[in-house]
Amino acid sequence: QMGNRNVENSCNTCDFSSLGYACRNISTSSALQNRTHVSCDIKGDVAVVRFNTPNSKVNTLSKQLSAEFTDVMNEIWANEAVRSAVLISSKPGSFIAGADLNMLEACKTAQEVTQLSQDGQKMLEKIENSPKPVVAAISGSCLGGGLEVAIACHYRVATKDRKTVLGTPEVLLGLLPGAGGTQRLPKMVGLPAAFDMMLTGRNIRADRAKKMGLVDQLVEPLGPGLKTPEARTIEYLEEVAINFARGLANKTVSAKRSRGLMQRLTDYAMALPFVRQQVYKTVESKVQKQTKGLYPAPLKIIEVTPLHHLICFFSFFGQLAVTKESKALMGLYHGQVHCKKNKFGNPQKEVKTLAVLGAGLMGAGIAQVSVDKGIKTILKDTAQKGLDRGQQQVYKGLNSKVKKKSLTSFERDSILSNLMGQLDYKGFEKADMVIEAVFEDINVKHKVLKEVEAVIPAHCVFASNTSALPISQIAAASKRPEKVIGMHYFSPVDKMQLLEIITTDKTSQDTAASAVAVGLKQGKVVIVVKDGPGFYTTRCLGPMLSEVVRVLQEGIDPKKVDAISTAFGFPVGAATLIDEVGVDVATHVAEDLGKAFGQRFGGGSIDLFKLMVQKGFLGRKAGKGFYVYQEGVKNRSVNSGMDEILQKFRVPANPDVCSDEDIQMRLVTRFVNEAAMCLQEGILSNPLEGDIGAVFGLGFPPCLGGPFRFADSYGARQLVDKLRKYEAVYGSQFTPCQLLLDHANSPSKKFHQ
């Protein structure tokens, strides 16, 4: 029972007769008549504060919202009739999704950011010390600054649905929780859990948050009643939160959490100085190892968490916000947002039935990310054995989610009912899109294209998941080339976020719209590029891998090559990457692209690859490549069988270009040069997609933000100088492209403004 609605006032008319410290703000509240971001209702003796950023799907902590929020809180503190408060959002999908990035990016100096952080902290401190209990009613994303607001409150009630996630993703943007979270979080969930949250930036679902002590109560989402489920659920959340707020004010509810035995033991241990030190040391060395010192944010987080002076923590936040790593990571964030939109608009016909040809690793992966989005998917293979393997892969992928409890076994079963495994073309007459993931051979592709076109309806899109064959070549066999497109997925499909879509001159807008829509539905970050040998991603990777081979030929062993490349920020070492891709695939691609681009793809000897293929050293899938892979063995050893091969192709090294840094730069400059050339040739339509493709598809170091951001921050001039230096030693594969030269010649030119 919510109390009599007639006594509900709006804050606008609240009683200011009690003159507390809040009165100081009375002058600023003259604008409260037209608040746009925060509103307030008084329900009996409980104030309900509602966040609602206008014209936006999510609430963000912008200057405007913060100012209005401060105003409203001051009124609440001044109003004697109010004994407690509830903070809630008017948007069911978002409590507060974080700080307004534009606001941070608009700051020119570290001081400005420090000031913002201090202002935020001051407000949250007031909430934390509020004599009137404040309850956060959380529905939807509660991230970053939103989580900081929530944990400054005295009590938290959260909706237990999938949209409700709590987390501190600041680290992913090269920042740290900027308004006191580094201090409050450890007190709330304990040091280990707090480190885990802040250093990984992972999203925590409501039920998990309850177990951790991050929220106090859960509210189950409601079904339809006399209103829509969404509307009634958030209303119910508010009712429950109001009851708890009232209970806290009446002292019938205690905000103290009963902590489990394990938690109490952990707390006790953490109170011991040497245990604390040990934890810090362990965490720090782990972070050092993983980040190679390339990311400043995680280390700063560790540094500020031991309840240092707040001042130092603010300045750290300010410092971090203006680092180039943070700028790079924020750039990637914006790029991701950009690549989650369909620039071709909505397709005429939504893809409801998808057919995937080939139940291999890629085909089954594509099927997996489709069925769980509710797309009816036909998985076709030519052999029962291959089909069985593919279906098992889909099952295993979904079942691992059941094991992690992110899916129930019932949901898994009903998702799997969307999958139809078969050996024939039955049901293809209903397919809205066919994605082929068959063997990378133009004749095989032509054969399936013709077979498929005989059975599919007129509107059906034919997409090829090839990593290198030009789409126009594949489309040459088609009766309807406007319906042919490339959809280049990355392996493993369920883990890799990128999808590279390739359009030919003949591909229609609607076909492109349809492909992008499917990719977005599958949860992918989508870049759209023009057709050409290797498209964008494969083409950038080619020269770099060729250089890796060259480096190996010069006598640097694979382990060292890996160490040098990961030290630069690549998540996977360059030699390991070749093993992962598969030496046979790499050979195939290198040959094709070599034919198309000539010397620019030269450097390493392709015969080395060919010999590896001959010897069966195909990489991870064969158990042997540069390394030996054994099930259950973590520390893999170098494949001794490679010694002979490497010896055979050995070339003398020029000590002028063989320092660790030079080797790194030889790999990276070729990558960046080729990326720039793709932009120059119009394969890429903008640098943003180029950065996203390189980072999400190829593992280009995220801290550098992608090849174009790197060119900006490193300097085109410096890049060109390096390229020239290597060109003098090795030849034309290092010749800088015209676009890079242009940038080098006019320093004001940047890929990203």
């Binding site: 409601l222 339809p224 009643g225 006399l226 209103k227 829509t228 119910y236 129930t408």
Partner: protein
């Protein structure tokens, strides 16, 4: 064992109706939690109750509407019992409507009923233990057997209780009821008031001797149970003190405003009208029409009556105003009140049921006036027959023509039936 209770119901029916055993063509029983030894409990009970061994019998299951399913399978109306062990006499019902064995001409006389023995549900060994035991059966040598036995660990002995949770959603029914009540804004007080009403009305009906459908049952080694023993009118204050049972600590569904699970069995004699008249019986009621519905097992688990009521009325060509007696299964007070609100909502009818307008909420003065599952108890598989026979008895007592029976069931299913008093 459940078949004992079912047997008592069947014997009670034979006694009350004096129907010759060999006239019965078929027996259908509903049950939910099956005793593995008597998985076709209908047959075991019929044999034990002295029915002819030439009368086939089968068992059906459809959660809380299992005995409704038994009735409609046999197509007839039933006789139900409920409460703790109670069985009931049968009601002869000609059944001109619908499908089922009688309507299809397969049979003339069918006995339908249901049974549930909640006090002794089968509890299984853990899967690991079951596997070990089954493998042990195949082990040949002593060595093999010993090696298998030596692999048994303490956790193998953890038993598996039958879940009261929905298989598809893993949500218990009480939890779903609490969410349903919240979705429709049903308060704790409203629920407690309704539950109190159910207990008070049941007590009154019991005191006035209206619950004539109960057959005494002698519990082996204990006293004879002669009446429903779960009727406990309390006070709102007392009920208000209880803590929420499912959504803790702030939910609204408590032990006092939920139906309680009891043992019980029911049986009912169903005939075609011609056969009944030919045999010299005077039927109690016609079973006019029935429907089954199903919807989302997560958020609309207990809304079966809302969906089934307008459908069965339409099918029978009646309106809500034509109904004199409503007998709804009271799973939870919150569930009943949510259904009443849903039936009274144009918004719900339009957005979720694809109907132009609401069917309307039944008037409470015609609604479950002799108590319901909240006060009489709810032996899953047996409840349906009790609803139907109570509707028939109320029609006779209160002088109406049509009764409407409705119930919800696990799996998000529902059922409704129109019962018509046989012309007096």
């Amino acid at each position: 064992m459940p078949h004992d209770l079912a047997r008592a119901a069947l014997q009670g029916l034979l006694t009350r109706t004096s129907v010759p055993r060999d006239v019965v063509d078929y027996i259908v029983y509903g049950t939910v939690i099956q005793e593995v030894k008597t998985s076709n409990v209908a047959r075991e009970a019929a044999l034990g109750a002295g029915f002819s061994d030439k009368t086939p019998a089968h068992t059906v299951t459809m959660a809380c509407i299992s005995s409704n399913q038994a009735m409609t399978t046999g197509m007839g109306a039933g006789r139900a019992s409920c409460g703790v062990h109670r069985d009931v006499p049968a009601l002869q019902c000609p059944c001109p409507a619908g499908v089922g064995m009688i309507a299809a001409g397969q049979c003339d006389v069918v006995v339908a009923g249901g049974v549930e023995l909640m006090s002794d549900v089968p509890i299984r060994h853990s899967r690991k233990m079951r596997k070990t035991m089954l493998t042990l059966n195949r082990a040949k040598t002593l060595g093999q057997k010993l090696s298998l036995i030596s692999k048994i660990r303490p956790d193998y002995f953890t038993p598996e209780l039958p879940a009261v949770a929905e298989f598809s959603t893993s949500e218990t029914m009480g939890h779903s009821a609490d969410r349903l009540a919240a979705a429709f804004g049903v308060s704790r007080l409203e629920q407690d008031e309704y539950a109190l009403r159910s207990h008070s009305l049941a007590k009154k009906a019991q005191d006035e001797g209206l619950l004539q459908d109960v057959v005494p049952f002698k519990v082996p080694g204990k006293d004879t149970v002669t009446k429903d023993n779960g009727i406990r009118p309390s006070s709102l204050e007392q009920m208000g003190k209880l803590k929420p049972a499912f959504v803790k600590p702030y939910g609204t569904v408590t032990a006092a405003n939920s139906s309680f699970l009891t043992d019980g069995a029911s049986a009912m004699l169903i005939m075609s009208e011609e056969k009944a008249l030919a045999m010299g019986y005077k039927p109690k009621a016609y079973l006019r029409d029935f429907v089954y519905v199903s919807q989302d097992p997560k958020d609309q688990l207990l809304l079966g009556p809302t969906y089934a009521t307008p459908k069965v009325l339409e099918k029978a060509g009646l309106t809500l105003g034509d109904i004199d007696v409503f007998e709804f299964h009271e799973a939870f007070a919150g569930q009943i009140l949510a259904n009443l609100k849903a039936m009274d909502s144009d918004w719900f009818a339009q957005n979720y049921m694809g109907r132009k307008s609401k069917v309307g909420a039944p008037p409470l003065d015609k609604f479950n006036t002799w108590g319901g599952s909240l006060s009489l108890g709810h032996p899953f598989g047996a409840t349906g027959c009790r609803l139907v026979i109570t509707a028939a008895h109320r029609l006779k007592k209160e002088g109406g023509q049509y009764g409407l029976v409705a119930a919800c069931a696990a799996g998000g299913q529902g059922h409704a039936m129109i019962v018509e008093l046989y012309p007096q």
